[in-house]
């Protein structure tokens, strides 16, 4: 009984709450969610331990695997003193600006395209093949073409990231638009809404949760395209920092950069979930 009370407090899992009614059967059995969490924690700690041990006993050359403390130290020193002419924060800011500029561009293009796909057969006919063509192409494949067309400046970098974001946003938007309930559309029409008003006041807000899901996927896709986008002629950015470090075999900066990218991606994900909660509190509660 005590154990079951503890577990339900720990993870707040709905499955656990039911054990209160039949404690003698289930109290000793941890829930799948808890089991998964414990397994995750052990994995992470295990990997960290292997890393610490192999670095400590120099099982692997520090050129290939620097110690965790060296990586942590680099985090501090690059934050203060910088690496390749910019501090960690300047690199981070440059990357974030690119990703968000790309997101803005992708939203402006892909949301209307998604709406067009969702509401009209002509729109679907026009945009579907384009989206389906772009979707499976890896960014590294179209990067050279974008550079040939738009040069090696900032616009190319933003464009490469934006292209990676187009498909998820357009596809999610289209799905949200198509999912609008016929009853709601009819209710608006019967209250005197024109076709444009139905789109503006019913179909769009109805699609908003879907659009935000697309935005979340797109931000992930864009963030993982970052290194590719900063391959050519960048002077700042996390991807650029990692590549420069790799060229000089400064492995600790490479690893530090990878961790920063992962952590920022995680923070962005949490931010968007907050945004969803704020903008579409009704999603899933109808």
């Amino acid at each position: 009984m005590t154990l079951s009370a503890e577990t339900s407090r720990d993870i707040g899992d709905a499955a656990i709450v039911s054990t209160a009614t039949q404690p003698e059967v289930k109290a000793v059995k941890p829930s799948p969610a808890r089991t998964a969490r414990i397994a995750s924690a052990i994995t992470v700690l295990g990997l960290l331990l292997i890393w610490i041990v192999s670095a400590h006993f120099k099982l692997v050359s520090p050129v290939f695997l620097p110690s965790p403390s060296a990586v942590l130290w680099k985090f501090y020193s690059v934050s203060i003193n910088g690496f390749v002419d910019a501090t960690l924060w300047q690199h981070l800011l440059a990357s974030l600006l690119r990703v968000f500029a790309a997101l803005l561009l992708a939203l402006v293009v892909a949301v209307p395209a998604g709406i067009a796909i969702g509401v009209s057969a002509i729109g679907r006919g026009i945009f579907d093949p384009i989206i389906e063509f772009i979707r499976p192409i890896p960014p590294l494949a179209y990067l050279p073409l974008v550079i040939i067309w738009f040069g090696i400046g900032e616009p190319s970098k933003i464009l490469v990231i934006a292209i990676a974001m187009l498909a998820p946003i357009a596809i999610s938007t289209a799905a949200g638009v198509k999912g609008a309930s016929l009853d709601r559309i009819n209710a608006a029409r019967a209250l005197g809404a024109t076709r444009a008003q139905v789109v503006r006041h019913v179909i769009l807000p109805n699609a908003l949760p879907s659009i935000l899901t697309g935005l979340r996927i797109a931000l992930g896709a864009g963030w993982s395209t970052l290194v590719a986008a900063e391959l050519v002629a960048a002077t700042r950015g996390l991807g650029f920092m990692i590549q420069s470090a790799a060229q000089f075999l400064v492995t600790d900066v490479v690893i530090m950069g990878i961790f920063v990218i992962a952590i920022v991606a995680f923070i962005l994900e949490i931010g968007i979930r907050r945004l969803e909660h704020l903008l579409v509190p009704w999603a899933g509660r109808e």
Partner: protein, 257 residues
Amino acid sequence: MAHLVLDHVSVHYDGQAQPAVTQAGISVKSGDFVVLVGRSGCGKTTLLNTAAGLISPTGGTVTVDGKKVTAPGADRAVVFQNDALFPWLSVRDNVSFALKLRGIPAQERDAVAARLLELVKLDGIGGKAIWELSGGMRQRVGLARALAAEPDFLLMDEPLGALDALTRERMQTLLLDIWTANNIGVLMVTHGIDEALLLATRIVVLAPGPGRVVRQIDAGFGRRYVSGESVRSIKADPAFNRARAELEDSIFEGEAA
């Protein structure tokens, strides 16, 4: 005085062997409370949606005051079985949605919403979110939203179908109160025999295969409620039971034929 007429209306959906409705004639004037009853598949909802302009008839005409109906309009507000409220708007903004479509300023909209929420006995919940409401409250918000359009006709598709018995009874009297207070014409679909008898001034009995009108029965129990008699006393009247038996027979005859 507005007059909604369905004249020899037939609706034949694409790819179906039989028409959903054939040659149906229904008339609703301001102050009428017309209720459509009949077994599933007799075309009640189809007829209602045709009157609303959401479906175009394949034969016959729908007219309001002699003018042909070709699209939905705010003069014929619709209340759906599934309330079809907009969860991204507050209760208040749901109610005043029709006014927003007409570009009426927010302050005026809020005043109308407050008045209508009071009318459906939901005063003070304007700021709430839709998902915070019970089924009965949602249906009343749907009703207030329809009334905000100041319609001549209220078209309701089993508006009380999803409610529990107690809430349902309270909603029935609320409907009667609103109907008389606003002198509107009501066209309503229901499965409830007692509900039809209690509310209607005229009951239209439909039969399936293909959907058609088999009988129209005048009723006056709703008017008795409006002039002060209690629902309990109306339902205890032997005349109510006789009328119910008669109505059940009509529905059954339609089935057999």
